[in-house]
Symmetry: C2
Subunit: 353 residues, 2 copies
């Protein structure tokens, strides 16, 4: 609890003075005013987050948090639970989608075992922060204890801070892996926003209509049995959450505390970010929504946080894949700020009117 | 006319057999089926375009076509005409937005003088393909002769083929520079689609309401005086077009003929692509729409061609900036195809159901 409390206290609003000065500088670039649209806004925000006028996004990270879920036994996923572990090894070998996209944008992938059911053999880029060997089945009772929920958040903060002790981190993408984890994510979003389970639940890895109806019922049962307190995000996380979701919440809080922009991926990442946001609304200024997931609950969470997605490519994979793609656009935005010549420097005539 | 006719004859539909086999391969990747959404579709299309199962997008190009416009004297732009030339020098020096974004995605910028009003001094990455020293004022008569229109298209084809003689080109982005060139672009789109000038005309570099009304009237007058034949794209281009717009049309035709994917940027690039599309509908399969411009006419042109934009970032700069960003996403899509492990290779269990 000490680390969580300390981190929450450390989070300060972004620097609006720097943001404004960057806005003025963007208006002097040799382009029609604001013609680079949201790209200019991204650069402003990143400058405000970092509190520097020439922010650079060189050291890019994707943290892919993995965990297993007791609720998988309810048959809510199209894949067997063992796939979580198998995919973690696939990440370590560098052969998964997130590895490919992270390489493409020049980002490093850190895979975190937050609570996979089995022990994962040590490997490159793997960090063990296991809170437990999979959560308990939330359809029958709380997914974890309150202490475990706090520990999952603090482990997420620790992962960031331990990496930060070794290297500079300029931007972070928050990814996930965990068979059945769209189920707790939708439950968290329903619990916090008060939306109906049906509205925030999707097909995850690709289940049928029948299975989708069943999944909605499982979520409704979990919410009914556990009655999570919407005003208490730790209560929500412990009752209907997951270890990797708590880890993402911690990662987001840690990034905000250390003034690092953090990029949300899909539904699970949005649910984790929402826990962080409910703990401290100020994290909003540090968040970017990489893409619009096919999972409808993600948009509900983004709306709650007042975030607009950057990409809309019908993706629903997770792992941090959407975050990786958006990070490259955010990097482009600061390069515009730092490298495009001004009207004066380029000797280009300013507008007549 | 010979080069244009030869190029048009050379354009063949994309290879659907290869496309289908790539679709099947994507379905074997260790990800939930189709969970990478449009990214997977991009990879399929690119494979079909190139006719190879493992397409690579290494050599990336942005062709930024520049030209001046007689209609600038009607006061339709927020910037004086001399800015076209000034920006061309800015491109050559590597300090403009397109240079920054092209560097970011690893693309080479080729600047083409298709018809700037002044003579441009030779410089790095500059190609001179001047058709004339700016077009004539289309509000008073045809912007150019029919021969000039054909020459502008053929010069666009030549630029591509001359570069292709030196190096392999894997993908092309079509950019533009030319003060007042949203005016002819909107006029082309209105002429071809039959939409009202008002619906396809925007603020360009950022004009006021009064100037926007004036710009619409100028376009209406140009269409009225010249009565371009909507069934004859060369007639449309000659009467209400521009040299760089013809250059883009040629570039698109050349790319389709050489089986190179070509990425549309904003309004001007869409207008040039539309000319190419009207000359030969088969180019559609080779085109990607990088982004949704703030200029409404661009969407009208994209709809006519049956293309859906990739990015929506409120951009309206031109130069090829949107194309550069999208090229990186397209490159990501083929890396997914080539580098992500299959279920078998990754030893990941396939779905249960």
């Amino acid at each position: 609890m000490k680390l969580l409390a300390k981190t929450l206290r450390r989070i300060k609003p972004i620097d609006n003075r720097v943001r404004q000065s960057v806005r003025l500088r963007l208006d002097r670039l040799a382009i029609p005013r604001r013609s680079l649209g949201r790209l200019e806004e991204f650069a402003e925000s990143i400058a405000g987050i970092k509190g520097v006028k020439n922010p650079v996004l060189r050291n890019k990270y994707i943290f892919t948090m993995a965990g297993d879920h007791g609720v998988a036994e309810e048959g809510v996923s199209a894949f067997p639970q063992g796939v979580t572990e198998q995919m973690v090894y696939n990440f370590i070998k560098g052969n998964a989608s997130i590895n490919v996209l992270a390489r493409h944008v020049g980002a490093r992938v850190i895979v975190v075992d937050m609570g996979v059911k089995s022990d994962i053999r040590p490997g490159k880029g793997l960090v063990i922060k296991k809170v437990g060997y999979g959560t308990r089945n939330m359809a029958k009772g709380p997914a974890m204890t309150k202490d475990e929920a706090i520990k999952s958040i603090e482990n997420g903060i620790e992962v960031l801070e331990e990496e930060l002790a070794l290297r500079r981190i300029d931007i972070v993408g928050a990814g996930d892996m965990g068979i059945a984890n769209t189920t707790p994510s939708s439950a968290i979003i329903a619990a916090i926003t008060g939306e109906e389970a049906k509205k925030v639940t999707g097909r995850g890895t690709g289940i049928s209509d029948t299975k989708l109806n069943h999944k909605v019922k499982v979520i409704e049962r979990a919410l009914d049995i556990n009655s999570p307190d919407p005003e208490d995000p730790i209560d929500v996380l412990s009752k209907v959450g997951g270890y990797e979701i708590g880890g993402i919440a911690g990662l987001v809080l840690g990034c905000a505390a250390h003034r690092i922009p953090v990029v949300i991926d899909g539904l699970i990442s949005a649910a984790g970010s929402l826990i962080a946001y409910e703990l401290n609304n100020t994290v909003q200024g540090y968040l970017f929504a990489s893409h619009k997931s096919k999972e409808a609950g993600q948009q509900v969470a983004l709306e709650r946080m007042g975030l607009a997605h950057i990409l809309d490519l019908d993706m629903r994979l997770g792992e941090g894949t959407g975050a990786a793609l958006a990070i490259s656009l955010l990097e482009a935005s600061v390069k515009i700020l730092n490298e495009v010549a001004s009207f004066d420097k380029a000797k280009v005539t300013k507008r007549k009117v």
